[in-house]
Amino acid sequence: MRIYVTGYGVISSIGENVEETLLALKSEKTGIKQGRKPYTERFKVGEISWTNQELIERFGLTQNASRTALLGMIAAKEAFGEHELSSEVRTGLISGTSVGGMDVSEIAYKDYLKDESDDLNVYKNHSSGTTSEQIAQELGIRGYINTISTACSSAANSIMLGARMLLSGQLDRVVVGGTDGLSQFTIAGFRSLMIFDEEWCRPFDETRKGINLGEGAAFLVLETEETMRKTGKKPLAVLSGWANASDAYHQTASSPEGYGATLAMKSALKVAGLNPADIDYINAHGTATPNNDLSESHGIKTVFGSSVPPFSSTKSYTGHTLAASGGIEAVFAILALNKGILLPNLNFSQAIEETGLIPVKNYSEGHTIKHILSNSFGFGGNNSSIILSAV
């Protein structure tokens, strides 16, 4: 049984919907800028310019919630689009997040300490699980709602679980993806790990120093063929492979040889029934930390040998959007499949000496792209790979 993607939606610093996102990708325009909030102003970040209140008004949202939930609602609404709820199509929602409602909790807590507010209702938005419930509510989905929190692979794992729920017949259609809003908490955390690059991040470059953080959300709608007969939806892509593996090395660092990454990529190929040579493009995890990119390069070389397909990290466009990244990059992959484009790895100039891998440097169209591998690796050594294929 094949799993089809019949809807997609995305919001990040490069665009507030799929169309704007494609334009930004085409024009090689990064969304990363000097931060504009008190806690981001010292860093280059992929911030979405609207405040929470502006997001609610601009996108006609019906709930006041955390940034994570609001961004999720926007992307999920776009993905669900013209889809209709019906009792004949059991529909679920699985969302990944790492910070949940942290952005509003931390503001409310400070106000509370200063005696400026005692609105305890704000904390109802805090739980990661609540963000998913709120996104589902915005779409009217009441059935199976679930939240995954596995750091930066959360969205990829949501996509994988969604596929399995369809295969096992537990659902007919499922909205899957991830969302994370920027918060002071996250900035402080990555600062403590000293893996920020104060300049624009340079994935897979010899001179890379670390990440730029970003925020955003993306969701896909997955359906089976049988469901599509009922909904009449046209497929955008096939979700053909997925896998998760543990790196079993360190809480935050990847193993030098990229063992978990290798396992995830190999297993996803196996699920898809494909050979490495069938992959036409890899959207790498490529966070631009010295550790990830070297480890992932080794993993890619182990899987693909001497014929590594075109690859790039699009985090140089969006910044690292953490739990949302696997969803955002899945949307990029679907665009690449359908438009025959190769996405550039912005800011690249010099290959990593040890591996010599050179990513896609410029945007180009007209390629025949049938299968794309997308990597998402999270802290905790939680490594996931998914494969999206042309219909």
């Binding site: 403590s192 790990l193 000293m194 360190h250 935050t252």
Partner: protein, 84 residues
Amino acid sequence: MSDLKENLKAQIIEQLNLEDLTPADIRDDAPLFGDQGLGLDSIDALEFIVLLDSNYGIKISDPNEGKEIFQSVNTLADYISKHQ
């Protein structure tokens, strides 16, 4: 200098949650990182940077700088006495 080293050992044990150890278990010249030493890792190295800032007002902005400084209690004490 020996006071500084003794203080450092106590601070290292506390900050890095090395509850099995006492200051007497840490030799001045023993490697702190790697399998032969205390088995500390990259996160511990980052905690050392926090420790230097919080307790001694010394700021290290590049974690790579730490590699030389954090070799042993001796090198750490040496660095602190020169930079404080």
